[in-house]
Symmetry: C2
Subunit: 310 residues, 2 copies
């Protein structure tokens, strides 16, 4: 029984499940379709990038919330794979020399270090494109016009949250902020946090509910929960850069300050930052408790996300 399992055990099971779904949907470089053997390198680069580990938070949310509303797993799976491909492509491009120029991620060499810069650009493009090819496969799992309409809506949410009015918008504002630190205000930071981070979290919270046909009121609540959780998560990131333990975090602390970066903490101080994380997470949990369906694991997950130490 799941309710006898610890939070960590359920989490492990869900992460394994996400890895299974990803393995199933990603092209297999060893087994490419007839005539497509010339693309096995990029299929390798895609798999290398996606299978580099990670929390699998976004696909996990889609699958679990679809289940919470009694939705059909067949509709959710393509979206679970798709959102992790989108998340991964953004990391592959972010790591490029033209962007953050990172040689390592989660202790492994980044995609452009292993496959070369040109191939990393293409592998990121390929992941973004394949994400939508994969999500659109959900149409063939839809059995009624009502389900087709849900897939149309879920696809629109997935796309918007990833695009210029979503994650890419946040990355663009972040890139511009880096070169104009003196102009960064609280509003800029709220924009960056709510777009660069919270938008993909929003897809995680909302898409499973949409696919399952959850009540409209719940869908609106899930949007707000995602925003509050995503922004709190990001402020916590800024806090941990000051107060965290290098060993636990797996990266040096104090790097933001060293780079002269304007963060939530440098703008408002540690005390207000911590208070805001608390307020945002309380509001998220309150909304969560008002949903027409419930899930103890997810409630705990929201709490862990915002109070995490690494």
């Amino acid at each position: 029984m799941e309710n006898e399992k610890s939070f960590a055990q359920i989490m492990d099971d869900l992460v394994s499940d996400c890895e299974y779904v990803l393995g199933k949907y990603l092209p297999d470089p060893q087994n490419m379709p007839e005539g497509e053997q010339y693309t096995s390198t990029i299929a390798e680069a895609m798999r290398y990038s996606v299978m580099a580990g990670g929390k699998r938070l976004r696909p996990l949310l889609i699958g679990r919330i679809c289940q919470m509303y009694g939705g059909r797993r067949e509709l959710a799976e393509p979206f679970m794979a798709a959102i992790e491909m989108i998340h991964t492509y953004s990391l592959v491009h972010d790591d490029l020399p033209a962007m953050d120029d990172d040689d390592y991620r989660r202790g492994r060499k980044t995609t452009h270090i292993v496959f070369g810069e040109g191939m990393a650009v293409l592998a990121g493009d390929a992941l973004l494109n394949y994400a939508y090819e994969t999500a659109a496969a959900a149409f063939s799992a839809a059995k009624t016009p009502e389900e087709t309409a849900r897939v149309v809506r879920a696809l629109a949410i997935l796309m918007r949250n990833a695009g210029i009015f979503g994650m890419i918008g946040g990355q663009c504002a972040d890139l511009e902020a880096e070169n104009n630190q003196e102009q960064v205000t609280g509003e800029t930071l709220e924009y960056i946090h709510s777009h660069k981070t919270a938008c993909l979290i929003d897809s995680g919270f909302v898409i499973g509910a949409v696919l399952a046909g959850a009540p409209e009121e719940d869908i609106q609540r899930l949007h707000r929960i995602a925003h509050d959780t995503g922004v709190a998560f990001q402020i916590q990131d800024d806090i941990l850069d000051v107060t965290g333990d290098s060993a636990e975090l797996g990266k040096p602390v104090g790097s933001d300050e060293e780079e002269g970066k304007v963060t939530y903490v440098t703008l408002y101080g540690l005390e207000k930052a911590s208070a805001d994380v608390l307020a945002l997470s309380e509001r998220a949990l309150e909304e969560f408790d008002s949903l027409s369906a419930g899930d103890g694991f997810l409630r705990q997950l929201i709490l862990k996300l915002v109070s995490r130490r690494k």
Copy 2:
């Protein structure tokens, strides 16, 4: 009356129409939605890249073929905008220092020269993502389940032709071929031509027909016409690099040979290359004449594409 107009006049009108559609669907940096002003730079970069001119061949084909089958313009427009965004993003990323490293395209500075490399990576990503956001907007124009099903199919074609089993696959094979010229065979070249070039042309020829509900037999014919036209177009490119006029082409001739690049001409010689272009274009025109609908302008366009001198 259109049939009194010259080919060039109709072409001009259709290109203007494509520019109008693109202007309508691209985000307007001067008029961003409420709260999205932080993304105006990327909206500018997107518009700069797309509005750099060009033949507008792919959107023109979608619109014109949809019309040829009596389809609804409302369904075609989002796809016209989308395919040109996809074509453009591929050029923006191709021009990056990590890829072809081009500072100029069509006489204008490339996107990364004007906006910086990081922003060019993001602008390419944004165009690809926005292409699908735009195409998916066609769902709201669909009036019947039958039309919805056509949009689903058109979207799948658009996505596959752009992805690793389409254009990106061709780019990947091309990138690998560059570093292993001695291993390039006729088969490699056929793969690169049919994927890197012909796949987006395929979307151009087929999507309008699918959206208009053209007979299945015609759709299969259009796939073949697109393949033959796309491959012939690319062989003609290789021929022009040897026999062309620098002034007409707007780029130096003989660059392939200078770079020691294996092309259709270096592999098979000029004579066979020219004969193959002729055979491919004859086959394409024969198929075109067997369609259940006809369009004199399109017939002439196919002919011009493969016999072009620039």
